[in-house]
Symmetry: C2
Subunit: 408 residues, 2 copies
């Protein structure tokens, strides 16, 4: 099997997809803030997973309907600077109207357009900006526009995040491209078919909406749902995948091809999820928290998420502080069932806690590990065979600065 990441890959690494990023005027800075992805194939299948927030934004609710009702999605428009969340009936009408404006300009049906928004919550959409965005975007659509699009969807992100892979399935090559944004309000809990992370996936596989949704949901659980920057889930988290079928490679349900495709897509999604954490607001550290040998996956998940979201652990990581007491405290209040006297903890491969107490490793030996920009904290409960992991960033002065100053 051949599988490889494409250099500077993006949503337009996939044959038959065009994209662009333009400046519509949502951002005061004048930076690009409107992206469009377009499939040249009329019959482009699609799937989507979305935030489980009660206040799901208007574009989220609209796309959820599309996933349930519609057969094809040929275009996605994404604006950065206004979340169109908590905007009531007017917001929903704005989302619908945005699709109509794009559809008209592209010569397709409004139902074939998806929309995702990110930015300020509670502000009504300025439709003239959508109109300007669409008017600029349609002529700018290009077969090499994926990286521009990735730039236009950024908010507090410091770098654009796009990737693509080629994978050989049944002797032919399938390409999968994707872009994502999100540096704050990051703790997605994507549900099927119901994360302000936004991810747009493109592929030229031949795959049904149903199979694509199943794979997307499962992969989201093992990528975006495993990351946390600040423990705050957004009103707007959206992952949309478009499959234009141009490769001619059919991904039949429960086939070997499906496994190959799902694994390749997971590689792309994990690659982007990891980069979201590394580019997390103010982040200086990437910490993997692994709980192993737990009684249940649910226990392992409670424990991993408690450590990944602990303000005290996150500030300790920022401070290069090997204080495992904060890890232990977080495990202890997580609600996970385990025997504290059996718990071992490692920082990378170095034993830190043995049987619930100090493993005796000299603190100086731990410093080299916690000073690294990436390290793993493994908590072995020695109490079962279940596991769970999360990826978390640290909490820095810069995080506070970004979020105390974002709005004012």
């Amino acid at each position: 099997m051949s599988f490889e990441f494409i250099d500077h890959g993006s949503v337009t690494s996939v044959p038959g997809f065009l994209a662009c990023g333009v400046t519509a005027g949502f951002k005061r800075s004048g930076a690009p803030d409107f992206a469009m992805v377009f499939s040249e194939e009329p019959q482009t299948n699609f799937a989507g997973v979305f935030t489980s927030c009660t206040f799901a934004a208007a574009p989220v609710r609209l796309c959820q309907k599309r996933v349930l009702k519609n057969e094809y999605m040929r275009a996605v428009i994404i604006n950065s600077g206004n979340a169109n969340a908590c905007t009531g009936d007017q917001g929903m009408a704005a989302a619908q109207q945005s699709c109509e404006i794009a559809a008209k300009a592209l010569g397709i049906a409004p139902e074939e357009v998806g929309v995702a928004s990110t930015g300020r919550i509670g502000v009504q959409m300025d439709m003239s900006l959508i109109e300007r965005g669409v008017a600029l975007a349609v002529p700018a659509l290009a077969a090499d526009g994926g990286n521009q699009a990735a730039e236009a969807i950024m908010t507090t992100d410091t770098v654009p995040k796009a990737a693509a892979v080629k994978v050989e399935i049944n002797g032919k090559t399938v390409t999968i491209g994707a872009m994502t944004k999100g540096a704050g309000m990051i703790d997605p809990k994507l549900t099927v078919p119901h994360a302000t992370m936004i991810c747009i996936v493109t592929t030229d596989a031949v795959i049904s909406n149903k199979t694509l949704l199943k794979i997307l949901g499962k992969n989201a659980e093992n990528s975006f749902n495993r990351i946390t920057v600040d423990g705050d889930m957004s009103t707007n988290d959206t992952v949309l995948a478009l499959a234009n079928g141009r490769s001619g490679v059919e991904i039949a349900p429960d086939s070997a091809a499906e496994k190959l495709f799902a694994d390749a897509l997971l590689q792309v999604m994990q690659n982007l999820a990891r980069r979201m954490v590394i580019d997390g607001e103010g982040a200086t550290k990437f910490v993997e928290i692994k709980i192993v040998n737990a009684r249940s996956v649910a226990d392992a998940k409670l424990a991993a998420e408690a450590v990944g979201n602990s303000a005290l652990c996150k500030t300790a990581w920022f401070g290069n502080d090997p204080n495992w007491g904060r890890v232990v405290a977080a495990l202890g209040y997580s609600g996970a069932q385990f025997d504290p006297d059996k718990c071992d903890i490692y920082f990378d491969a170095i034993p830190v806690v043995k049987n619930g107490g100090d493993a005796g490793t000299a603190e100086t030996d731990l410093l080299d590990t916690v000073k690294k920009s990436e390290f793993t904290i493994t908590c072995d409960f020695n109490d079962g065979d279940c596991e769970y992991w999360v990826w978390a960033s640290d909490f820095s002065y810069e995080y506070v600065k970004i979020n105390a100053d974002y709005h004012t």
Copy 2:
């Protein structure tokens, strides 16, 4: 009914209680780090509520046993600088031995001594420091030593926190005194009889252990369990209450006297809980989050705690940012069941959100409120008649500084 706070009140405002704070040597700074509270009455009833952390510290587990098994507690020793948590059998032996050392010096039984520890997790106790603490404390015990004791139990606290009230019950005066510490790792979930907040309560009421425990548990739920600084629960949270009976006022179960006593004690505990939040690590704001007209108390609690623990809300408060979108996002991911379209939000009395959308108040009108050092966020779900509230601090540069530098 007469009820009043005593100026500069403390645990020693209660007749028959002595206290002191001395320097045993736990803190490198040389600041006082060892406190003792002592009741002159041989038959001093008591009760305690403790952390629900799986890794409960040795002194917590020892005091839990005392609450279940013992009749009297005449003395409590508290050290600051070593939590004696995750210290295994050796830690438990150290806690027991600490009680024995104090008992011997005081001429009472070891079972009559309670112990509470706060500080670094995972470090074995230096028993010579306990010995020195006890040796210095016993001769220093004084009828006006309560405020000294409150100082000695501080860790990252910037001010000592003590209070006392006098309440008239059945024509006689009952006094209740208390001290507390805790500025970080503050999100207590005290359970009966099982928060690193430490609180020692003294009273001269005549009250059984059972009645005192019932009141203490219920009051903890309405005071310490309502506060959050960083969302991190400690391994060492401890509330101990000692009742020496000297007032001669009997607090019979389910009597009017019990209600008067419980209410007075709640005033003291809420006073201290509020001051813990105001003195929270790096805190510049005290924010009350009230959920009203919810379907259930459980829903209201989930919602209130999500907002109180949201890093994005807390950094917005620090930044004087009226961004209600972050409040809405936190409510939305809290797991609480409510109808987003019915949700109204107020900053103090100013409408911010109406029916899930912008209430139309000019942002400049909100700025005066969010700039205040104390304000209330009320979320009206208009969906039932249940409510819950929490008190939360903000997240500042100073919080990160304190917690990135605490250890190293």
